[in-house]
Symmetry: C2
Subunit: 321 residues, 2 copies
């Protein structure tokens, strides 16, 4: 993929798991990257995370000129964003924090720099309200691990210009991503609404004592999960319907939509439920560190990506994805 010519320098604000994933992705795609985070020790943790991701990115193939040496850490927010063409905000998921930070960024950035929030839930219209030049503020929501998973949801707010959405799409595509432009602002965008639905139901199953976290996970991985790595819920059902496809499935399973086959509100996240979920996950890890599990997942994903390329395009978006 050719690098977008208008975006050369990217600043990542906030160096948690998502921020560090963006840093590694943009570096591997040949961008100049500045990272900023006010937390003590942030630079060292960030550099370690990028170092950990790098071998996976090397295996997938680096862009011309890509180098870890093109990464700078700048603790001062204003300095960090001053010359950036794209600023990717990756602060914790708290509304007031994100609004204040995006406003600060917008006052320190170049007027035509694109400012993107990685928020998984908030609408861009809400986030851009107090920004200078709100027309260049968008949501660009990635998925962990950001340096490997291709999806990014791009959403403009009421004040966002169409041109900025178009430029942003090109930029993320030049960073090797599948950019899904969402024209309707809703809480949770698209993917997280789907994930939130499954997540709430999974919490109910654990809360009600029907299944452990491990059993819930197994019920996904060995069944629907294997299909969802190639086809989403719609095309999957289309194929399950035999020659008549989805129409047959809707006739057969439509009535089930009336049944109480899901719990419809999330359970109270009690201390007991919290412990059960946390302990379940730790048990599943079987004593492996998160880093070891990350490594194993990454190795798997690299091969899965190759596999998907081999079998695509199948459900591509009008040839664009």
């Amino acid at each position: 993929m050719q690098q977008d010519q208008t975006i050369k320098q990217v600043t990542i604000v906030g160096t948690g798991v998502i921020g560090n994933g963006w840093i590694a992705r943009f570096l591997a795609q040949g961008f100049e990257v500045i990272a900023t985070d006010p937390a003590e020790g942030a630079e060292a943790r960030m550099r370690k995370a990028v170092d950990n991701a790098w071998p996976a990115l090397e295996r997938l193939g680096l862009a011309d000129g890509a180098s870890i040496d093109r990464l700078t850490f700048e603790p001062d927010l204003k300095k960090a964003v001053a010359s950036a063409d794209l600023i990717q905000e990756c602060a914790p998921e708290r509304e007031e924090l994100k609004r204040r930070l995006l406003s600060d960024i917008s006052h320190a950035a170049k007027p035509d720099a694109i400012i993107a929030s990685s928020t998984s839930g908030y609408k861009p219209s809400l986030l851009q309200e107090t920004c200078e030049h709100p027309e260049r503020v968008i949501v660009a929501h990635p998925f962990n691990p950001v340096y490997l998973l291709p999806l990014v949801e791009i959403v403009g707010g009421k004040a966002t210009s169409a041109d900025v959405v178009k430029r942003a799409k090109q930029c993320y595509e030049s960073a090797g991503m599948k950019a899904l432009v969402i024209s309707h602002e809703i809480d949770g965008h698209i993917a997280d609404r789907l994930m939130e639905a499954i997540w709430r139901e999974a919490l109910h199953l654990v809360n009600d004592g029907v299944a452990t976290t491990e059993e819930v996970d197994a019920s996904i991985v060995y069944g629907a999960g294997m299909r969802w790595a190639l086809m989403g819920p719609f095309l999957t059902l289309h194929l399950a319907g035999g020659e008549q496809g989805m129409r047959h499935m809707l006739e057969q399973f439509g009535p089930a939509l009336k049944y109480p086959w899901t719990k419809l509100e999330a359970p109270e996240l009690t201390d007991e439920l919290t412990d059960r979920v946390v302990n379940g996950c730790e048990h599943q890890g079987k004593g492996h560190s998160i880093a070891e599990l990350d490594k194993r997942r990454d190795d798997f994903l690299i091969e899965l990506i190759e596999l998907q390329k081999k079998y695509w395009p199948l459900a591509n978006l009008n040839g664009e994805l």
Copy 2:
């Protein structure tokens, strides 16, 4: 996997997509299979479906003695089930039909034959009520394509004996499956509750005009779907939490459970919504026949299965899966 010694002959009742999937799987694992279905032309359609699945199963590796020649079609239900060790019911998902059929099967079968319903939703206690020897009636719910996807949910009803559940688990494992025994009967078992949650939300997104079926599918495939082929929703979030794992995620995303990030009831399945969903899927197929799409999916899944083996066991069920 060694074949279970007590189950040699399997009868599949109903030769739709699921029934034919079971037939192909059991044949490939070296079982003797009888198929039965009252519909006109059922045998020819069934044999075609098994022929289509066979090359994929050959690539995965057939069991000793496995052969399509060990398949018999017997249109008479009573004759078809009379000598079977396991009878797998795969009728359409209608409560009264399944109850009547399972009762008929139970009166014609050997007293110790295991009778399993493939139902995706009904509880075994409901299904076994009118059966002879209800202690050997279970739910064994598979996933399409049944001849490739390993998951089977095994659920006993109030009258089911623990020994039957144990024998059934061994049998499905000897047929190359990952058998998840569910101790609590609930509508939709485990996996379909999770799929139903995502399905209802996906229908809302399409119904509200927020996204096309293609966009919904892309939002899964390029993000969460790639993770779910290796790890379920719990372990995925555990890794997304960084070093602190799931506990950090619950602190960070717990409050979002209070937000209206999913619609909580299914939309009316109007003619308009039906058309939109069907047309969306057909568009995604890009003119390929269902058979062509099946083939492509199968080729992908075979390689994915090899990939999963390479990276397992990670989230295995106490070493059992």
